[in-house]
């Protein structure tokens, strides 16, 4: 399952243009990684594509940190 975490972190690095070292599991996309509202929409789309899951809008709103994303994908893929 650590594979999921690595893939999530890789997407975050690519889409937000941040250093890998900053992408800790407790990092907040907005507060720690500089994402804006459009960035977070794009991130969720990238997770959907990578993992073949559908992330409904109400679930997407609760994905605020790297760990939130990993947990959602683990539970739903």
């Amino acid at each position: 399952m650590s594979d999921i975490a690595e893939r999530v972190k890789k997407i975050v690095v690519e889409h937000l243009g941040v250093e890998e070292a900053k992408v800790q599991e407790n990092a907040s996309f907005v507060d720690d990684l500089g994402a804006d509202s459009l960035d977070t929409v794009e991130l969720v789309m990238a997770f959907e594509e990578e993992f073949g899951v559908e992330i409904p809008d109400d679930a997407a709103e609760k994905i605020l940190t790297v760990k939130d994303a990993i947990d959602f994908i683990k539970a739903n893929s």
């Binding site: 690519e14 889409h15 243009g17 459009l38 794009e42 789309m45 959907e48 594509e49 559908e54």
Partner: protein, 420 residues
């Protein structure tokens, strides 16, 4: 009345990245036209275009020199090209953008004829094949025409007027003219103004080809395809690129010791009110925009030494423009040199007017009229007119007139000159 001068130049053209590269190749009579190899053209009647050279070629364009990799994915190429031209122009001008006051008095006015056509085409396919949930949140801002200027304003902190122009092939000229008036009226002291275009793609080519506007007879000899006023001309050649100027109020520029390239002396606008794509057969629209530009400059035809023509290499358009210029200049025609730089770079559509205004400014600065390539067999009406065939010509140029005419019957003429 406040006066407006040009203090910075930037461009990306099919002749290369940067003003100096493009100009040097232009006056050396080189061509930026080539057979299209980026996408399949086997089923398209027009197979040549003016394409910005890529990495590894002379004057090659490297997008990440101007925009970071993350932003690159999120912007259509017309925005990327505008950011590159703006970066060069702003650096060239040395305009101060440190204080709130300086930022608030500096604005942007960058237009495009078509905007993110390729982004729209791609997104339409995603919508059709994968549905609306796969449309990127960056799709709309990547395609909107005013986002070229928007991105430039965000990067440099230009917080003055934030405007744009969409007038087809007159866009780049209207952008300069309208921005200069914003400075004249005191809305800003500095304007970053220009035009950008990156619509060379299957959809753009198919559309212009359907309108029977494109050259189709020189697919195997691309450098011959754009031949304004030549009897063998058969349509324009689509091209991509961007041009951006830094315009500045004259006293503002003098006070900071800025390098002054030229003054924006005159600007004229008119409409044909005739047809969506065809120019009015009497050439009166172009005649009136040129007349208006002379009037606003307080100049007569005898004051103009060089005309950078719209000259797209279409059978009808070239003839009508030549007729209108001859009618306007009368006896003064014998002292004027007129050329079409589209012969070398093709038609940059919404960027054409700005790129050609920059070439006009450089013509003044270097005392060189750039050539009309491929003008081997001029039409009869060109008899006795110096259309600068094939080779650049050294001559004194004090003032230059640059024409742009667009679909919808929209005409703009600019006069740039040495400040008095």
């Amino acid at each position: 009345m406040r006066r407006v001068v040009v203090t910075g130049l930037g461009m990306v053209t099919p002749l290369g990245t940067g003003v100096e590269t493009s100009w040097n190749r232009l006056v050396a009579a080189e061509s930026g036209l080539r057979r299209i190899d980026r996408f399949d053209v086997s089923d398209l009647p027009a197979k040549v275009a003016g394409l910005v050279p890529g990495e590894g070629e002379p004057g090659g364009f490297r997008p990440t020199d101007f925009i970071d990799a993350k932003e690159l994915r999120r912007n259509d190429h017309f925005i990327v090209l505008a950011m590159a031209a703006a970066a060069e122009a702003i650096a060239d001008s040395g305009i101060p953008l440190a204080t709130d006051e300086q930022k608030n008095r500096s604005g942007v006015l960058i237009g495009s004829g078509i905007g993110g056509l390729n982004a729209i085409a791609d997104a339409a396919l995603v919508l059709e094949k994968q549905g609306p949930r796969r449309i990127s949140p960056f799709f709309i801002p990547s395609a909107l025409i005013n986002l070229a200027g928007g991105q430039v304003s965000i990067k440099y902190g230009l917080r003055g007027p934030n405007h744009s122009v969409v007038t087809a092939c007159s866009t780049g000229a209207h952008a300069i003219g309208d921005a200069s008036r914003l400075i004249r009226y005191g809305d800003a002291d500095v304007m970053v103004a220009g035009g950008t275009e990156a619509a060379v793609g299957r959809l753009g080519l198919a559309g212009f080809a359907a309108a029977r506007a494109l050259s189709t007879g020189y697919n195997d000899t691309p450098e011959k395809a754009s031949r304004p006023w030549d009897k063998g001309r058969d349509g324009f050649v689509m091209a991509e690129g961007a041009g951006v100027l830094v315009l500045e109020e004259y006293e503002h520029a003098k006070a900071r010791g800025a390098k002054i390239y030229a003054e924006i002396k005159g600007y004229g606008l008119s409409g044909d009110a005739y047809h969506v794509t065809a120019p009015s057969p009497d050439g009166d629209g172009g005649f009136r925009s040129m007349t208006a530009a002379l009037r606003s400059a307080g100049l007569t035809p005898a004051d103009i030494d060089y005309v950078n023509a719209h000259g797209t290499s279409t059978p009808l358009g070239d003839e009508l423009e030549l007729g209108a210029v001859k009618r306007l200049f009368g006896d003064a025609m014998k002292n004027v040199s007129m050329s079409s730089t589209k012969s070398a770079i093709g038609h940059l559509l919404g960027a054409a007017g700005t790129v050609e205004a920059i070439f006009s400014i450089l013509a003044i600065r270097h005392g060189i009229a750039p050539p009309t390539l491929n003008l081997e067999n001029p039409e009869e009406a060109a008899e006795g007119v110096d259309l600068v065939p094939l080779k650049a010509k050294e001559r004194r140029i004090r003032n230059a007139l640059s024409n742009s005419f667009g679909f919808g019957g929209t005409n703009a003429s600019l006069i740039v000159g040495v400040p008095d």
